[in-house]
Symmetry: C2
Subunit: 186 residues, 2 copies
């Protein structure tokens, strides 16, 4: 019923940038904040309806002649207040991230060294792709200039993604090297 503490704020945050449709929000969240957040349609639409009922957002139904129907949502004053209130609150360190690669490597004894190395190579590749993607997003942000305020925080957050991606790549390299070393001496 009362859906989703977290999704709620991800949506309000998006709308604090500019008005969007449900479709836009899902896309934007996945593309721009994809390194640390995602939403599915199955979440966005119901929560958006709830936010509208609570008057935290308003809806400008764009049903002009011939136009494809599109509901453009924008944040209200109380929505902004509610967002700020939540943003100020200390971050709740909720669930541990579950990383399947690490789980598999941890129990690597039950696997061949080559299988472990392959898992790590795959992760390295993925991390490299992420890094490239994150750099692209940073470039986009710098090019199209949004408000200085917005882009500063976006770049700061992306910087975190760079650090994370690079750490992951470095770790994979080290782990692969160690595993390869063990193969030769045995």
């Amino acid at each position: 019923m009362a859906k989703a503490p977290r999704t709620k704020y991800a949506i309000l945050g998006s709308l604090s940038v500019y008005p969007m449709s449900g479709y836009d929000i899902k896309k934007w969240v996945g593309e721009v904040t994809g390194s640390f957040w995602a939403e599915s349609s199955g979440q966005v639409y119901p929560v958006l309806a709830q936010l509208l009922a609570d008057k935290l957002v308003k809806c400008d139904e764009n049903s002009a002649k011939g136009k494809r129907s599109r509901k453009l949502y924008s944040i209200t004053n109380s929505g902004s207040k509610e967002l700020s209130r939540w943003l100020k609150q200390p971050v709740i360190e909720h669930a541990v991230y579950r990383d399947e690669l690490r789980l598999k490597l941890f129990y690597g004894k039950n696997l061949s060294k080559d299988d472990c190395i392959n898992h790590l190579k795959q992760r390295r590749e993925d991390a490299e792709k992420h890094l490239i993607r994150h750099r692209e997003i940073a470039r986009h942000i710098k090019e199209q200039h949004h408000s200085q305020q917005d882009s500063m925080y976006w770049l700061l957050t992306l910087e975190g993604a760079f650090y994370h991606d690079e750490a992951e790549i470095a770790w994979c390299d080290k782990a692969i090297k160690i595993l390869k070393g063990l193969k030769k001496t045995k």
Copy 2:
């Protein structure tokens, strides 16, 4: 009902190390693999029952005189096979980790700089605690020697936690510095 693809393998993995009770598994998973995995009792017990029904684990009920009742589970041959089968499969990059700090920082425009800095300081502190904790775990693993095979993979995985913790600390420092710089010049 048919509970949990992932929990299932976390449990089988634990039991591939040595026999444990449900209580042990929950604790072990949280303590030793805590940097990338966790389980709650509400998951462990039902899944364990399912695994028993599927004969992937067997149970040695320790109801000896006076003893506290304790069900000691161990992995069966088919359990080991099922674990290996899963471990070999490519890692599925499932859900994006949702990081509330990054979400808050991303929408930092709606917040004061001090609030942002405080969030980052808190994260830095947490990351430092994690790093200390992970180093302790590594020390434990080296001291009590489990099989070389086990401890090698455990240390390899922990190495990943170090990289991650250090990257997080470095990022927080950089972000805090940038935000402080902006405060002074404005």
